[in-house]
């Protein structure tokens, strides 16, 4: 293999964001004509690396060198990298639904004749490109009228329209069904035989094993290793070991759980997608939470964990179909978020900026926002009580801010998260659902958040933690459910939980031995 010329080499790439080192000293060598897979947990730095390569983060905002086709490349933006033949296809497809296939393929790149778009030529060229990706459709068909699998093919055809040399696919099969996935993988094999190089990011390890020539594994923003699939005899287990093998000790505060009886139970929970009614996002899911217990939900992106949590939290997601919630032995019906709050539920969302906080608010307004009745008398808000409540939480959670009059938009991620936690602690919940509670937060603040979660559990509350970081779940939770494609596939006690067995159950519908 080593005699094949190197197409791309990324040398000791380091990319820092304020407070977070997303990539440190990452190396990647891609040879011409191979399919190179990049693996790693969520947050390992895969997408950041690809953004560096494609010029989303322009030259100068990172350290290290990109050697492409034998010379150093300094891409200033995406257009520069596309001109060099590097095309990235993102997980969220960048197609315009109301435009036709041909219009999308040539968007920003329209063939012209005397200043006007030459639609005849465009359609002819589109047909040619579509044939190359095996897409049989009328080029005038609108994007919204074709399935997501075919849309993916349009994206690839679009890449070919730009004369691609290196094709980067970010989770290309995540949204595809089995037949479409298979077609796409066959297509990639076809490209390989025609000498086109591909980089593929995927969570689906069986696909990687089946198709990749080389695998580079990232972990915590570092390159762990590069494996040659054939020469090293790589299988799924080998990849998983590379992805998760890290020390867990001392990243979590010491904690002895005081677990009581089951007080919260969800039974046979079925929910449909809010728009496409034929898609079921929660498939007969059931789980229990005990007092004082921290329960984890592990799963890949799109497994339906957030959807489960939000649909339980006052049906704030999707269309409720069936299922019951039992709290303290009584069935409760939560038709709105207000119902859920009144019944002692709290949900800390995964995206605190988009849906967790009103960034126009200051700390004290945010703290009391979910339970204004607690500081109101006859409908009139008491400013002093508001201040006192916010100040008490600021001290308790050690939120770093000069005063509670500070705007939340000026706080760091960790401190914003503390404000969100305070907001929900203020509602006196019995059950807290924390969705990715440490996302985008630096290590020190994570440790503090873990401490807060443990204290909440020790107060006899039930805590549900949804996280994409397996070590976090294993280090924090007393019990972990695994979720795959909208169904709960396993339940593992802390003592038995390892990244390997969690990852296995998160990626397959097969039920393993449950406790």
């Amino acid at each position: 293999m080593s005699d094949v010329p190197i197409l791309l080499e990324m040398r000791s790439i380091t990319k820092e964001f304020p407070g977070v080192k997303a990539l440190s000293d990452v190396n990647l060598v891609v040879r011409a004509g191979e399919i190179h897979a990049i693996c790693g947990e969520n947050g390992a730095g895969k997408s950041t690396l690809m953004k560096v390569l494609s010029g989303v983060y322009p030259h100068g905002t990172y350290d290290g060198k990109i050697i492409y086709q034998g010379s150093e490349s300094k891409f200033s933006d995406i257009r520069a990298s596309e001109n060099a033949g590097i095309v990235i296809i993102h997980q969220e497809l960048a197609l315009i639904p109301g435009m036709s296939i041909a219009e999308n393929i040539f968007l920003g790149n329209e063939p012209r004749k005397r200043g006007a778009i030459d639609w005849k030529a465009a359609n002819r060229m589109a047909l040619d490109l579509m044939a190359r990706v095996g897409l049989e459709e009328d080029p005038d068909t609108l994007i919204k009228d074709i399935g997501v699998g075919k849309q993916q093919l349009v994206e690839i055809a679009k890449a070919f329209a730009k004369d691609v040399k290196l094709l980067i696919l970010d989770e290309p099969t995540a949204a595809l069904n089995e037949a479409d996935s298979k077609h796409l993988l066959d297509l990639l094999r076809g490209f390989r035989s025609r000498g086109i190089t591909s980089i593929m990011i995927s969570h689906k390890l069986n696909e990687i094993e089946a198709i990749a020539d080389q695998i580079t594994i990232l972990r915590d923003g570092r390159t762990v290793e590069t494996l040659d699939v054939k020469a090293d005899g790589v299988d799924e287990d080998r990849i998983v070991r590379g992805m998760v093998g890290r020390e867990l000790s001392s990243r979590f505060p010491d904690h002895t759980p005081k677990i009581g009886d089951v007080f919260f139970e969800v039974r046979n929970w079925n929910v449909r997608h809010p728009i496409s009614a034929d898609r079921q996002v929660c498939k007969n899911e059931s789980f229990v939470v005990r007092r004082g217990e921290i329960v984890g939900f592990a799963g890949l992106m799109g497994a339906g964990r957030t959807e489960l949590a939000m649909s339980v939290f006052g049906r704030s997601y999707g269309v409720y179909e069936s299922g019951t919630i039992i709290k303290d032995g009584k069935e409760i019906v939560l038709k709105s978020v207000a119902d859920a709050i009144d019944n002692g539920l709290a949900y800390v969302s995964e995206d605190r900026k988009a849906i967790g906080l009103n960034l126009l608010d200051d700390i004290k307004t945010s703290t009391v926002a979910a339970k204004l009745s607690k500081i109101s008398h006859h409908g009139v808000l008491n400013e002093v009580e508001e201040y006192q409540a916010a100040e008490a939480y600021r001290k308790e959670l050690r939120t770093k801010a000069p005063t509670v009059d500070e705007s939340v938009s000026k706080l760091s991620g960790g401190n914003q998260q503390k404000v969100v936690l305070a907001k929900w602690m203020f509602t006196d919940p019995d059950l807290l659902i924390l969705d990715e509670p440490t996302r985008g937060i630096d290590v020190g603040a994570k440790y503090e958040i873990y401490g807060i979660i443990q204290r909440l559990a020790d107060q006899g509350k039930g805590v549900v933690v949804i996280s994409s970081e397996l070590p976090e779940l294993i280090g924090l939770c007393d019990r972990i459910y695994t979720v795959f494609e909208g169904a709960i596939t396993g339940e593992i006690a802390r003592a038995d939980a390892t990244p390997e067995n969690l990852m296995k159950q998160m990626t397959s519908t097969k039920k393993m031995a449950t406790r």
């Binding site: 964001f17 969520n42 947050g43 969302s349 307004t365 000026k410 907001k423 985008g440």
Partner: protein
Amino acid sequence: MSRLKDLQKNLFGGTTSNARQFGMIFTLVAIVVLFQILTDGLTLRSDNLIALFQQNSYILILAIGMLMVIVAGHIDLSVGSVAAFAGILVAKSMTEWDLPWPAAIVFGLAIGAVIGAWQGFWVAYIGVPAFIVTLAGMLLFRGGNQFIGNASTVPVPEGFREIGSGFLPEFGPNTGYNNATLLLGLAAALAVVWREIQARKTRRAMDADPAPMWISILRMAIMVGVIAFAALRFASGRVGTSFPISGIILLVLVIAYSFYTRNTAGGRHIYAVGGNSRAAELSGVKLKRVNFFVMMNMSVLAALAGMIFVARSAASGPQDGNGWELDAIAAVFIGGAAVAGGIGTISGSIVGGLVMAVLNNGLQLMGVGTDRVQIIKGLVLLLAVAIDVYNKSQGRFSIIGSLMRPFRRDDSAPPASPPDAEREPAKAAVSG
């Protein structure tokens, strides 16, 4: 320097979000002084002040409702037509069905409520953008007014005219002034002092140092001075005139709605919905109910404004309320509301409305034609919102704040990393 900073920080409220309003008050004062000079003292003469209030009270009433609509993230283009529609029905109800005028007022408010419920229904429960719903309403109710009134004017009886052109009554000893207006001014002055004392108490209860005493006193002195000046002016007009009834209605509404938006859960919810509707919903705010309420409330106030206008002009006509929506919207935006919603205050909108009113009035006194008045008003609106947008792109701060920025390095407590910085790795975590 530090005294100046203290002054700047404390004179009108304190937090940075008020800095814009602070600037607006100064703009208002500057405009008043400017026109006072340019018109040789005509602007602040009693009769002109009284006319100014009477001519603009209905726009300011609309601005109250519009502020809430805009804070919630919507817009209402139909207010002028709704006002005209309610006006003609009320006028007809008195002249043709012999409804006594107090009953007619209640009837008018009920019409506003029904129209508001209609518009609120489409906005909140069907999800049609308010821009479209109220654009439709603008046509619908303008047409309705002309259909019902046969595009002609309908006069209203004497008693009803009081709400538009009436004044506080004369009573008590002959002081050379209108006693009722003086008493009103006294009450206002006492309220200002009481509020300042309360505010100091609240600050202390929050373990925060209240503003330095001299600032409190200065602030009270300025406000009491302004009130005393205004009261004397209003009380010393032509005999039979004094503070207008429509001004009293406006005053009551401003106080009530300021209280509602600042100090009640319902008011908070409007800001929450406008600031981030999804976050508000996930905090238990009933989104639909809030949207329904602000739209409905707006139409009720529009109906009230329409009735006051009809009462002032003694008849309801087919062109009543033309262009009011734009005046009200302009007042709200000049008063510091954010185009995207979530930010704005009642008092700011009133100040914004007064800026427009004084501008209008002053230019007219100078004999500037309506053509040029419109040009100037347009530029003022554009400039005010441009400042807002520019400030937002600079991190949502006041002009004062941005001027200070280069010197802020030595300031205490680094305010953590800029909010955007963290979004990137967060995204990476999602898709990486």
